[in-house]
């Protein structure tokens, strides 16, 4: 018998998150096959691949929405595989979604979304809400300040707090979702195609935001199609294709990797691209 957590720390010590041989299939269709990679603390790791490569499935496995058929996800050496999504969030992992998922029921405002993002800090209960009104009021003020701070951080006007999220332009809704994820003060962010639907100027702004998040010491796993953004911000890249890991490395290694070019552009382009690179 050996201590699993200790063993993993020894093996994957420098990695904050370690994805270990994840396999997941949906009624016979293999979405992920033996995918393994790690993310170092404080790094931005990009997860790229053609549509249907299994990127979102992998994010869902990491955040506990899906459970893998085989394999494990370790975070700080702790096995997350059997934990439920809210327990994984409590470990310090926040995420955003490919299609923005903001809370809009009962006329919820932008500020409400942010307050809900602070759930892990508030830990509301009905007993507290009814009998500890003083504490609630105090917490409320503190969290509200944090909410305005996060709004400013992602580049939204504090005045936006009182509007309905669906009244915000699409790009701002994405920013709001990130601000909401940041409300939990996570150690790591999982971002699912955060730049899709943004125009060039917005992508440029978004790049600055990502680097500012990294500056705060937050580790990021970035699923993204916009290669320019990926190349500009990522410390390492891992490439998925048909559920398998195709390549892993830094930006230069990936951009001239034969298999990656083949997967993206087709085998006809391999020689052309290779020649261009050497030339």
């Amino acid at each position: 018998m050996h201590d699993e957590a200790y063993e993993n720390n020894r093996l994957h010590g420098k990695h904050l998150l370690w994805v270990d041989n994840i396999t997941k299939s949906f009624s016979g269709l293999t979405a992920l096959l033996d995918v393994s990679f790690g993310i170092e603390r404080g790094h931005i790791k990009a997860l790229i691949g053609p549509n249907g490569a299994g990127k979102t499935t992998l994010l869902n496995v990491i955040s506990g929405i899906l459970s893998p058929d085989r394999g494990h996800v370790y975070y700080r050496g702790k096995d997350l595989t059997r934990l439920r999504p809210h327990e994984i969030a409590a470990q310090g992992l926040s995420r955003t979604f490919q299609l923005v998922r903001l809370f809009t029921a009962n006329n919820a405002k932008v500020l409400d979304n942010l307050m809900i993002g602070a759930h892990l800090k508030l830990k509301p209960s009905f007993v507290k809400s009814l009998f500890l009104r003083g504490t609630i009021h105090h917490q409320d003020r503190v969290i509200r300040e944090t909410a305005y701070e996060k709004l400013r951080f992602v580049g939204l006007e504090p005045a936006a707090g009182e509007t309905s999220p669906s009244n915000l332009p699409f790009g701002n809704q994405r920013l709001l979702e990130i601000a909401r994820a940041l409300m939990a003060e996570p150690e790591m962010l999982l971002l699912d195609e955060p730049a899709s639907g943004l125009n060039d100027a917005e992508v440029e702004e978004f790049k600055k935001l990502l680097l500012a998040v990294k500056e705060k010491g937050i580790t990021i796993l970035l699923v993204e199609h916009n290669m320019k953004l990926v190349m500009d911000v990522a410390d390492e890249i891992v490439v998925l294709d048909f559920g398998r890991k195709l390549a892993e490395g830094n930006c230069d290694e990936i951009s001239c990797n034969r298999k990656v070019i083949e997967a993206y552009l087709g085998s006809d382009y391999v020689n052309v691209a290779g020649r261009n690179h050497s030339g």
Partner: protein, 328 residues
């Protein structure tokens, strides 16, 4: 603006407080009507927590109404236990049953949850009818004593009126406090998107269970108040039609606002007093008014009131997007 709004509420409270001394004195019958209104306000408001805030549709609220009523009724009528303790027992039993059943049933979503709660209602009514030796069966439970606080018997409907409305105001205040607190925001998150909520650290099953238990306990209190008021209860009082009536009150008044539920309950309980005079056409008129409200006022009665108020006060109607909520 704020003063004006508070004045409205003060006027309403004053009306409720002075009712037995004015209208109720001339015609005591209306005291009894308003007691029933109060009981249904508690039912509709408690259901609003579950449906309007947490987004969990229940078509079996009358089951917990029944549990409260029968627990209180049996304890006082057959075992001579003090009504105050019986009321608390009713609250406890409703909550306990909700806790046990909720753990299983709340895994279901949408229509399936609605069907399951509908089934629960049917089962509870059948059980009450079946265990006739304890519950009096289909012919009902007789001789439930009026409510008593220590040695003060609230046989006089005027006293009971104040007791019931005191509880109604307490329930509404607590529900408003809950929904405006982070607990309420958590429910709204679950209502909007359970999966997204869970990735923010919200334990959805736990919160759904908690709100289900709270909502059921309040229905239990309403049941107990009902039993001691009527003195006689029968399974028919708590069948599926009652659940649907509470649901209609909620949607008629405006869902997800607490005030709306209270308004809907009052409206639907007072409507027969108006249509009563039309004798044969009563049911027809009743139905017609309901249909008109639901078709032309999808935001419910509260939506209309809010619009009218905004227009009267000259505030920018446009700045209030169409919503179920009261303006903030």
């Amino acid at each position: 603006m704020k003063v004006k709004r508070n004045l409205g509420w003060l006027a309403l409270l004053l009306f409720i407080a002075l009712f037995p001394a004015t209208v109720g004195r001339i015609s005591p019958y209306y005291n009894t009507v308003l007691i029933l209104v109060g009981i249904y306000v508690i039912l509709a408001v408690s259901l609003d927590l579950l449906i309007g805030f947490a987004g969990q549709i229940s078509v079996g609220h009358a089951a917990f109404f029944a549990l409260g009523a029968y627990t209180s009724g049996i304890l006082t009528a057959k075992h001579s236990i003090s009504p105050s303790i019986a009321l608390l027992s009713g609250l406890f039993v409703s909550g306990l049953v909700a806790w046990g059943i909720g753990r299983a049933v709340l895994r279901l979503k949408g229509y399936y949850l609605a069907m399951a709660t509908l089934g629960l209602n049917a089962v509870i009514v059948k059980l009450i009818t079946g265990f006739a030796s304890i519950t009096g069966g289909a012919s009902g439970l007789l001789h439930i004593p009026p409510f008593q606080i220590f040695s003060l018997t609230l046989q006089d409907h005027t006293y009971y009126y104040y007791f019931v409305w005191g509880i109604v105001i307490l329930v509404i205040t607590c529900c408003l406090a809950l929904t405006k607190s982070p607990f309420g925001s958590t429910l709204i998150a679950i209502h909007s998107d359970e999966e997204a909520a869970s990735t923010l650290g919200i334990d959805c099953p736990k919160y759904k269970l908690h709100v289900f238990v709270i909502s059921s306990m309040l229905a239990g209190v309403a049941g107990s108040l009902f039993a001691h008021f009527m003195g006689f209860i029968a399974p028919d009082d708590f069948d599926i039609l009652t659940s649907i009536l509470i649901l209609v009150m909620l949607f008629l008044g405006g869902v997800g606002t607490i005030y709306g539920a209270a308004l809907g309950a009052a409206f639907l309980k007072l409507l027969p007093e108006v249509t009563y005079g039309f004798h044969d056409y009563e049911l027809f008129l009743h139905g017609l008014i309901l249909i008109l409200v639901l078709i032309f006022m999808p935001e419910g009665l509260l939506g209309i009131l809010t619009n009218v108020k905004n227009r009267l006060l000259g505030s920018k109607v446009l700045s209030n997007p169409p919503s179920l909520g009261t303006d903030s």
